[in-house]
């Protein structure tokens, strides 16, 4: 198992490097804004005395290198300071929003993946039939529709024209009482957003899986499976699908960064209480601490997913563990 361990360590080291670069980027990004750099950290509405106090606290009078180390410490401990807009700590704001964003992204991704994978496999097994045509068509076309357009249309049709779903928000105002009522309310508000993401996403999945599956099914070892008298279902799932799993899992985790971008847009369209919309509000409202923290969190999520994809791939595809340096 040692080749596995060295593989893991190499991947983790790589991710830490990326994280470090992102931290540097984040540090300079919000400090190199045109205009007074101090304004990015201290609410301009504060009194001069308060500003002086906070200046000392943030080390703004100290050299840049000191500030950077202070910043590193803050980022690692998730101490993001106070929001200009709400006055609460940024962490508080993020903490209430993070679960919503994760729920949105997680369910959308899982549903797209399952639906897309199943459809892709069916399309590969029943070539030339209508299901393959749907997969080929939706896979090619779904990429072209801007997500916000589809979402606005869905809102128009299913929230305005036929008032089935709410027009905005993560929960009803005022929220209902009781655990199950709240849960149902929450789900009801998520149906259109998640639905739109699945609608936009399943096509790409299905096409990808179909192409992979068609390729795998033409491999020699599938023919050998038939030669061994194994039932067709067993060959499809335990041999073909099992071979698909490594690239599939990787794509699954690698698509998370992309869907994070989708979160920003989706949360904006549906006015959901999430980190993406918080980022937008922070940017347009010039709430630099919040913007910096949101960006950092999203970048962290991206790095984590990439790392998880790499590590999982190592478990699932044994061939990869033996890769040499310098592909």
């Amino acid at each position: 198992m040692t080749e596995m361990k060295s593989y893991w360590w190499r991947r983790i080291a790589g991710s830490l490097l990326v994280l470090f670069v992102v931290l540097i980027l984040n540090f300079f990004l919000f400090r190199l804004m045109p205009g007074d750099p101090v304004a990015t950290m201290l609410d301009p509405r504060f009194s001069p005395e308060a500003k002086a106090e906070l200046s000392k606290l943030y080390g703004l009078d100290k050299p840049l290198s000191f500030q950077f180390l202070l910043y590193l410490k803050q980022m690692i401990t998730f101490n993001f300071g106070y929001s200009f807009l709400t006055g609460r700590t940024v962490w508080e704001e993020l903490a209430t929003r993070l679960p919503n964003t994760i729920t949105l992204l997680g369910s959308a991704l899982l549903l797209s993946a399952f639906l897309g994978t199943w459809l892709g496999i069916q399309a590969a097994l029943k070539r030339g039939k209508w299901i393959e045509k749907i997969v080929l068509w939706s896979g090619a076309v779904s990429f072209s529709f801007p997500s916000f357009f589809v979402q606005l249309l869905l809102l128009l049709i299913f929230a305005y024209a036929i008032p089935l779903f709410p027009l905005r928000g993560s929960v009803s105002v005022p929220p209902p009482i009781g655990f199950w009522a709240q849960l149902t309310d929450h789900i009801w508000h998520l149906i259109l957003p998640v639905g739109s993401l699945v609608l936009l996403g399943f096509g790409g999945w299905a096409l990808y899986v179909r192409n992979l599956m068609v390729k795998v099914l033409s491999e020699d070892f599938i023919l050998m499976g038939e030669a061994r008298g194994l039932p067709e279902k067993h060959i499809v799932w335990n041999h073909a699908f099992r071979t698909l799993l490594p690239p599939l899992l990787t794509i699954f985790l690698l698509s998370l960064p992309g869907i994070i971008s989708g979160a920003v847009i989706t949360e904006t369209v549906f006015s959901l209480h999430g980190v993406g919309r918080f980022l937008l509000e922070a940017i347009t409202g010039q709430d630099y601490p919040s913007a910096g923290a949101s960006f950092y969190l999203l970048a962290l999520l991206t790095i984590f997913c990439n790392l998880a994809a790499d590590l999982l791939y190592g478990i699932v595809d044994p061939r990869v563990r033996f890769e040499r340096r310098g592909r």
């Binding site: 990326v18 072209s144 529709f145 801007p146 920003v264 310098g326």
Partner: protein
């Protein structure tokens, strides 16, 4: 080549490009101007709503018939600058009534009357709270708008009188929340999508080509460093960084192009690098090296032409991404409000309550426009890929 010219996507793209270039010359008004009340529906819908119209009387045309099978308009406005030979009255004849809108004297007359003016209401003997347009246009039928002389002598007039009737319908695609014609906005928006989409992708491809060639050919530390850079850039979530950069470092078009290309060259770089790696060890490149050919020569004269077809396909396939990215940034409101783009139109539709008013005609054109452009480039990319395939196989065989 011929097959390209017959492809639907190419022809459509050509048509759209020509349209966007000719548009400023053919449109009579700047797209930014207000032409009708906000959220007017397109002319071909809701036929009972009156279209916004302008009735003019001038020189010898002193009478106009107005067919009015509609509901009352929302606003009216009367204006004119004329010289008249005899005293007259500006009259609106409904099927059952006759309203004297304004008295005209001999000589110069300049007037500018809004339907909400209290004095106007008083003159017509309506209460101050009356809605003039509803009162005037209360019935459906034939109306006559004319200059009626007080006595029998036919009047002679110089100048124009304009009767602005603001209704609920306008144009091919209606109006937005500022009363701007959506069709004109739609045509104007083509340019931004095309310009940003194509130039960002071109720039990204050039960057990718550059780094890919160098990385693949040089190998060693250069390769490692460049590939590490690629990994790092790929780990940064794209929309958030675009948002931050666009918001803070300039909302202009060219800044956007620059930012977009900085974060989309990585895919091309990887593909070019892979190709370079496979070609580098081919026998004919080795032969060139053996003959003492300088690196730059090999890269420029031999490796570059091999990668070019692949690059073209990559460009065509990358344009939709750039178009969607620009549209996304504009939709989030992070673009220059003075620049008309389809994404911006959708932003305004969303922010200014288009769908709480049911104004779906604000949503559909820009959204479909973006989709259509993306589909066109995807098809072109597919075409180019099909062209490469036999070539690619040929290149690798060496």
């Amino acid at each position: 080549m011929m097959s390209l010219f017959r492809r639907w996507s190419f022809l459509l793209l050509l048509f759209i490009a020509v349209l966007s270039i000719l548009a400023p010359f053919s449109l009579s008004v700047s797209p930014n101007q207000e032409v009708a009340p906000p959220f007017s529906t397109p002319l071909w819908l809701k036929r009972n709503l009156p279209p916004t119209m302008k009735i003019t009387l001038s020189e010898n045309i002193l009478k106009k018939n107005i067919a009015w099978p509609y509901n009352p308009p929302t606003q009216i406005h009367l204006s004119g600058e004329i010289t008249l030979s005899v005293p007259s009255a500006l009259v609106l004849e409904t099927p059952t009534q006759k309203f004297v809108l304004h008295h005209l004297t001999v000589g110069k007359n300049t007037f500018d009357i809004d339907g909400r003016d209290l004095s106007f209401k008083q003159r017509l003997n309506f209460s101050p709270f009356a809605q003039i347009p509803s009162e005037l246009f209360s019935e459906k039928g034939e109306y006559i708008f004319r200059v009626e002389p007080d006595f029998s002598a036919p009047p002679e007039m110089r100048g124009t009188i304009t009767f602005d009737i603001k209704g609920g319908r306008w144009g091919l695609l209606g109006t937005d929340q500022r009363g701007r014609d959506i069709f004109s906005l739609f045509i104007a928006g083509i340019r931004v999508s095309l310009i940003v989409g194509i130039s960002a992708t071109l720039l990204a491809s050039l960057l990718g080509l550059f780094f890919g060639l160098i990385s693949g050919y040089a190998g060693g530390w250069t390769d490692t460093i460049i590939m590490r850079g690629v990994d790092i850039l790929l780990s940064i979530p794209i929309l958030p960084i675009l948002m931050v950069l666009a918001a803070y470092w300039g909302k202009g078009l060219w800044q956007l192009v620059l930012i977009l290309s900085l974060f989309s060259w990585m895919g091309t770089a990887r593909t070019v690098r892979a190709m370079t790696l496979s070609l580098r060890d081919s026998s004919y490149i080795e032969g060139l090296r053996g003959l003492g050919a300088p690196t730059f020569y090999i890269l420029w004269r031999h490796l570059l032409p091999e990668t070019l077809p692949l690059l073209l396909a990559n460009i065509a396939l990358g344009v939709p991404g750039a178009i969607l990215a620009e549209a996304g940034i504009s939709f989030l409101g992070l673009s220059d409000p003075r620049i008309i783009s389809w994404g911006r139109m959708l932003h305004e539709a969303h922010s200014f309550g288009a769908f709480t008013r049911g104004a779906w005609w604000m949503l559909l054109p820009p959204g479909l426009g973006i989709t259509l452009l993306c589909l066109i480039f995807l098809d072109l990319g597919k075409f180019l890929e099909e062209q490469i395939d036999p070539q690619l196989k040929g290149a690798l065989k060496q």
